[in-house]
């Protein structure tokens, strides 16, 4: 609104780039405006040819197992799925009021969330470029809504930043950009960068910095309507007699630098966190449920704990027992087997594959993660702070606070993600506490950011992934070195056995990895079956 820049049309800009730097750059610039996105996903899978009743045993009913089951069944295979847990979905999971969850070690939690409220203890966000997963969502009728990653009005909090006073993201972001633009502008106009920037580029760069950083005509970042248009006002523009806006005061560069809060600024710039992210309406497990409907419940056997996998010339035989009682040992066989059991578990199991695959199965430690859902009596973050969805970040052991991205304005209770940390010490230290204690601490720490926690807290659920009985960890934590040696071997078809899952992908801890891995494995297995005719 107070931006009085003469507009530069996109064509002008392209002409400018073209004149100055030649047509190759111009082509690149155009290409980056929206064509040629390259994804490994090439649209719905087509498995041509009749497998003539060939049978496949699928181990695990997470998204990898469900994808494999859906595609193979569609292609005419006889399919049977064995799943350890008493529900389908694996890590694709939501907790709702009335659910009970028992972690390893025996601690049971009962979820007291109100109707329609939930926690996604595992996956919660889907990048727009996870084409395969989204394609299945669309085809299986899973309704999606925006997941807010970056909320400019959410808080950044550091225990030593600004004396522990939380800051709005829009303030830190605008001021950081502004100060950096001013500094760089000074260096440029004082000819300090002459050996790095040509004379023509210098002028363009100065103009770009002025616009990017909201600098004034003197190339300084000073409180003004222009800077308030970025960071927000001390008093917002209004109507009638009290209409005139009051500009806000930027924070100084030194304070910003020493605060360390700049560390959070690039989060939304990561490809996997670019707007738009999505979430299923009603909880992540809507995806698993839609898959299960499409696969057909009749082929999925729950409460079946696989204990060994053996192949010979003609078939694969799997031993399993009732996972609740440990009794009732049985076997199942098929001509082929796709195993999606996480490597944390598979590495402890008897399976006769070659040394290369066996070594690969043992080469991947499992990362740690903790998520704590907190139900509050009211949406004080919306009502008191005008935070609608998105994430506040902190260096407290809770890591972040994730606000619900749905139900805005509702007057009832609501569930916040009160802690989410992974891989580093805080995640392990939370895991080592009893569930009630994890919740208590999340409330205590979160109250440093939202003092309303103390009065409004209602109930909580804490999921530590190393205690989840069907996973024993959050995700396969490949090191670069291990990947180099073992990844190819993990993904080969070994005789009649092939693996799939998040761990057999270059997308660790993403559902897209599980789905793409299953598509790849199924495709190669089908080729082998057809070739063996």
């Amino acid at each position: 609104m107070s931006d009085t820049e003469p507009p530069v049309s996109r064509r002008d800009l392209l002409t400018l780039i073209g004149t100055l730097a030649g047509s190759a750059v111009m082509y690149q610039a155009m290409a980056s405006l929206g064509f040629a996105a390259d994804s490994p996903h090439k649209g719905p899978l087509k498995l041509d040819g009749d497998p003539r009743g060939a049978s496949v045993l699928i181990l695990g009913a997470g998204l990898a197992g469900l994808t494999a089951a859906l595609e193979l069944r569609k292609a005419g295979y006889k399919v049977q799925v064995l799943e350890y847990a008493d529900r389908i979905g694996g890590r694709c999971w939501s907790l709702r009021g009335g659910d009970r969850y028992t972690e390893l070690g025996g601690a049971e939690q009962r979820c007291d969330f109100d109707k329609d409220l939930y926690l996604n203890p595992g996956p919660w966000r889907i990048p727009y470029h996870h084409y395969a997963l989204l394609d299945y969502c669309h085809r299986l009728g899973v309704a999606l809504e925006p997941f807010v990653q970056v909320n400019y009005n959410a808080w950044l909090h550091g225990q030593r930043a600004f004396g522990g006073q939380k800051q709005r993201l829009r303030h830190v972001l605008s001021d950081f950009h502004g100060h950096v633009a001013e500094l760089l502008g000074k260096a440029v106009s004082q000819d300090k960068l002459d050996d790095m920037v040509s004379r023509e580029d210098k002028e363009i760069l100065l103009e770009a910095l002025r616009r990017w950083g909201a600098l004034n005509q003197n190339f300084t970042y000073r409180a003004s309507l222009r800077t308030s248009d970025r960071r927000g006002y001390a008093r917002d523009p209004g109507g009638g007699l009290s209409a005139e806006p009051e500009v806000s005061q930027p924070v100084g560069l030194g304070d910003l630098l020493k605060s360390g809060l700049w560390r959070y600024l690039a989060t939304g710039n990561l490809y996997e966190f670019h707007t738009t992210l999505l979430q299923p309406v009603g909880g992540m497990d809507m995806i698993a449920k839609a898959f299960a409907r499409a696969v057909g419940d009749d082929v999925i056997q729950l409460n079946a704990k696989v204990t060994s996998i053996r192949q010979d010339d003609g078939q694969v035989t799997v031993r399993y027992r009732d996972s609740r009682t440990g009794d009732n040992p049985r076997t199942a066989s098929a001509q082929w087997c796709i195993c999606t059991i996480p490597l944390s578990i598979l590495s402890q199991m008897e399976i006769n594959v070659g040394a290369a695959m066996a070594d690969a199965i043992s080469a991947v430690p499992y990362g740690s993660a903790i998520k704590i859902g907190l139900q509050f009596k009211r949406r004080f973050w919306e009502q008191d702070d005008a935070i609608y969805g998105g994430i506040s970040y902190t260096d407290l052991p809770i890591g972040l606070i994730g606000y619900p991205n749905h139900g805005y304005g509702d007057r009832g209770k609501a569930v916040v993600l009160g802690a989410y940390v992974f891989d580093a010490p805080f995640a392990y230290e939370f895991t080592a506490l009893p569930p009630a204690e994890r919740v208590r601490k999340a409330v205590e720490w979160g109250a440093q950011i939202h003092p309303q926690y103390r009065d409004e807290f209602d109930s909580g659920m804490a999921v530590a992934w190393h205690r989840v009985p069907g996973t024993l960890g959050c995700y396969g934590q490949w090191s670069d070195a291990a990947r180099k040696i073992h990844y190819q071997n993990l993904c080969q078809i070994d005789g009649r056995i092939a693996l799939a899952g998040e761990h057999a992908s270059y997308l660790p801890a993403w559902q897209e990895g599980a789905v793409l891995s299953a598509i790849d494995t199924v495709t190669r297995l089908h080729q082998r079956v057809m070739a063996s005719r």
Partner: protein, 132 residues
């Protein structure tokens, strides 16, 4: 999902990035997300190992298992737990990057002399260094 951020080298930068111990318990837990800070073997067991191996070191079984550390004869050779804590074992992540030699020695000595184990010989930080 998670990305590894390279460690910072300058002391000043480390100070800016470190979290403070303001709200944290006095035993040194929850004080840093870069490294575990407790020095005491029992505190290290309580805040790390028991997350998977359980409070009495009894282990747990689901679709897979955490082996018991309690009354575990494989702990007799002290080099074995030192190696496992530093480098991990199959699903168990390596803790070498988060613990110094003194801490590894302390937690291994605790585990080998408690939880129904009674191995009297002690591991020294130098023993740990040799395995790193």
């Amino acid at each position: 999902m998670p990305r590894v951020v390279p460690p910072v080298s300058s002391a000043l930068l480390a100070l800016v990035l470190a979290s403070d111990a303001m709200a944290q318990p006095s035993d040194g837990t929850f004080a840093s997300n870069q490294r575990f800070l407790p020095k005491d073997g029992e505190v290290l067991f309580r805040s790390i190992c028991q997350g998977c191996h359980m409070p009495e070191g009894q282990g747990a079984t689901g679709a897979g298992k955490y082996p018991a550390l309690a009354r575990n004869e494989k702990l007799e050779a002290s080099g074995y737990p030192v190696f496992v804590v530093l480098n991990g074992l199959r699903g168990m992540p390596p803790f070498g990057p988060y613990l110094d030699d003194e801490q590894v020695a302390a937690v291994v000595n605790y585990v080998r002399s408690h939880l129904g184990n009674d191995y009297q010989d002690k591991v020294s930080p130098d023993d740990v260094k040799a395995v790193r």
